[in-house]
């Protein structure tokens, strides 16, 4: 009986050690294959305009990233909108999160629910509603950078509030009381204790905002007027045949994200 039991448990152990690990690796492979394809295709030397197959290796795309007409303008516009939207959404969202976590006021519960609404509603519906709003408000002629920015700040806001709120809720209020007890006034308490402890949440919210904004197609497409962002450019290019430089931009974005995450992790480890 005991040998059977121990035999079973050793099989269980083997499964625990190897099978789970194998499944994990497969899932990772599943997640990373598309990224690998993007990296690979950035070195593609396409034989025809419709470059969906790997026809040969070249560094040409990396050396001439702005060769496709208008692509780099689209990237610049997306980065500008992304940065501005990140700044706006992170600032407003952080203030909202503080208000929702720290203050008791009438309608707080309702406000909490409403912050989730934009996350839950379909983008296509939000995009068309926004367009209707802009047109009704008389902005039909000026659709472009500013309308895109307003839309992006709007949908990033919910994500910022949720992210910062989670961090704030996990912050022990006694830490701030301890700071006040140790002669820190309200501003010093915020600057020396609250902000450093909530900062990881704010940073995460900012990174999330940028990637949401940079990536957005549906809402942007409906509210962009003549402006062309990078996702819109890719969409348009797809009708004619995708230039391999798009993969260069994709790979570069991926690398920047990777470096940001690694730097953050490194900094966190060094701090203890």
């Amino acid at each position: 009986m005991t040998t059977v039991a121990s035999g079973r448990s050793s099989i269980g152990k083997w499964i625990g050690d190897h099978l789970i690990m194998g499944i994990g690796l497969l899932v990772l492979l599943y997640m990373f294959t598309p990224i690998f394809i993007v990296v690979l295709m950035s070195f593609n030397d396409p034989a025809s305009r419709i470059g969906y197959s790997f026809d040969g290796f070249t560094l040409h795309n990396w050396l001439n990233p702005c060769e496709p007409n208008g692509m780099c303008d689209a990237v610049v516009l997306s980065v500008q909108i992304g940065l501005a939207a990140t700044l706006g959404a992170t600032f407003l969202g952080t203030l909202m999160a503080f208000a929702l976590v720290r203050h008791r006021f009438r309608g707080r519960a309702v406000a909490n629910v409403f912050t989730f609404l934009p996350m839950a509603s379909p983008e296509i519906v939000m995009g068309s509603s926004l367009l209707a709003l802009f047109v009704t408000a008389g902005f039909a002629g000026v659709l472009g950078f500013w309308t895109i920015l307003v839309a992006h700040i709007m949908f990033c806001l919910s994500f910022v509030v949720v992210t910062v709120k989670a961090r704030l809720a996990g912050l022990d209020p006694r830490l701030e009381q301890a700071a006040m007890d140790l002669y820190a006034n309200e501003w010093q308490t915020f600057r020396r204790v609250t902000l450093p402890l909530v900062f990881p949440g704010i940073l995460a919210a900012a990174l999330l905002s940028f990637s949401l904004s940079f990536d957005d197609f549906i809402i942007t497409n409906l509210n962009s007027g003549q402006a062309v962002t990078f996702p819109m450019y890719v969409w348009g290019a797809n009708q004619r045949g995708i230039p391999p430089q798009i993969n260069v931009i994709g790979t570069a974005m991926f690398l920047i994200a990777l470096i940001t995450v690694l730097a953050g992790e490194l900094g966190r480890r060094r701090r203890g």
């Binding site: 301890a178 700071a179 006040m180 140790l182 820190a184 006034n185 020396r192 204790v193």
Partner: protein
Amino acid sequence: MTDTSPRTTGPGAGEAVGAASGNAVAGGADLVLTGVTKRFTDFVAVDNLDLTVPQGSFFALLGPSGCGKTTTLRMVAGLETPTEGEIRLAGQDITHLKPYRRPVNTVFQSYALFPHLTIFENVAFGLRRQGKPDVDAAVAAMLDLVELSDLASRRPAQLSGGQQQRVALARALINRPQVLLLDEPLGALDLKLRRQMQIELKRIQTDVGITFVHVTHDQEEAMTMADTVAVMNRGVIEQMGAPMDLYEHPMTTFVANFLGQSNLIGGRVLGSDGADLEVEVHGTRLRVPRSRGAQDTGEVWVGIRPEKVQVCAPGSADDGPRSRLAGGVITDASFIGVSTQYLARMPWGQELMAFEQNTGAHEQFRVGDHVELRWVPEHTFLLDADQDANAGVERVDEG
């Protein structure tokens, strides 16, 4: 509830306080609470509290959870504002001062160390905010005092509970506050470490001579460390005094039960005979010195501490005057090493406790043995019978 004035300190308290104050100016920097009330929306946490904590004393606020002791502490720290009343420190009204404007520091329950700062920066925090010079030297000296110099560059999460506790203490003490508030500072430590830290805290307090106000629900902790203990219950101070005074002269059933254990037997004062009161307890007449009575007429609780009760075979000889209750039957005898704890069922159905030291000098009894309970009459105390005999019994032992 009782007419015991919270300001009443026993004779022992004054002596102990005087000894601890050392060369401090008498009454110079006392902490005085006058008529302090804290009302929350649905209950009164602290009810018209009057309290004087003499400068340089080690003062304990003892009570069960929810008795208002922590709220009192937080009002002194400035983290809560009293609904009514006044708090003065060294003569200055600090009732409405911001926490960072008070010469008071707190050792928080579970410490509240800043997780993003090193131990060094945690300890330096108060001095830096005050813009004091020579922060580095002061912090080094303070870390040396609490024996944490080696860990200065670590972060709180890398320290053990006992080490974190010492950081919390150092972080508060370095500011040389006029009053140091300790909110259950030892609650998170295991028993052995707690005993060690009790001694350590007491030593530090004697060394630095700062007034310590220590909030705890652990009666043993309060008694071992404090010069003066105030027992709090439902927002009021039940009784205040030196530990021994409180223990030997409980004035309410709550104090009698919360501080140690007591047998409380229903009785009636028949009359007095000089210095003694004559009390009838379920048909037995007992003599109780008048000075031992919180109440000297009518219905009373006759109290006796279990360790003062001797369990004797009926009819055996005494070596002096004794109060006796006959007709007991042992219902439980627990041997716990240093002592044996007996429960004896009395003829009126009540079970009384008796703790006998295992000196080898007394007879050991077994369940079912017929016994007589005896004690020195001076150890009896009388309490007002209007009170609940079980007040303060259900102690929450979180340790």
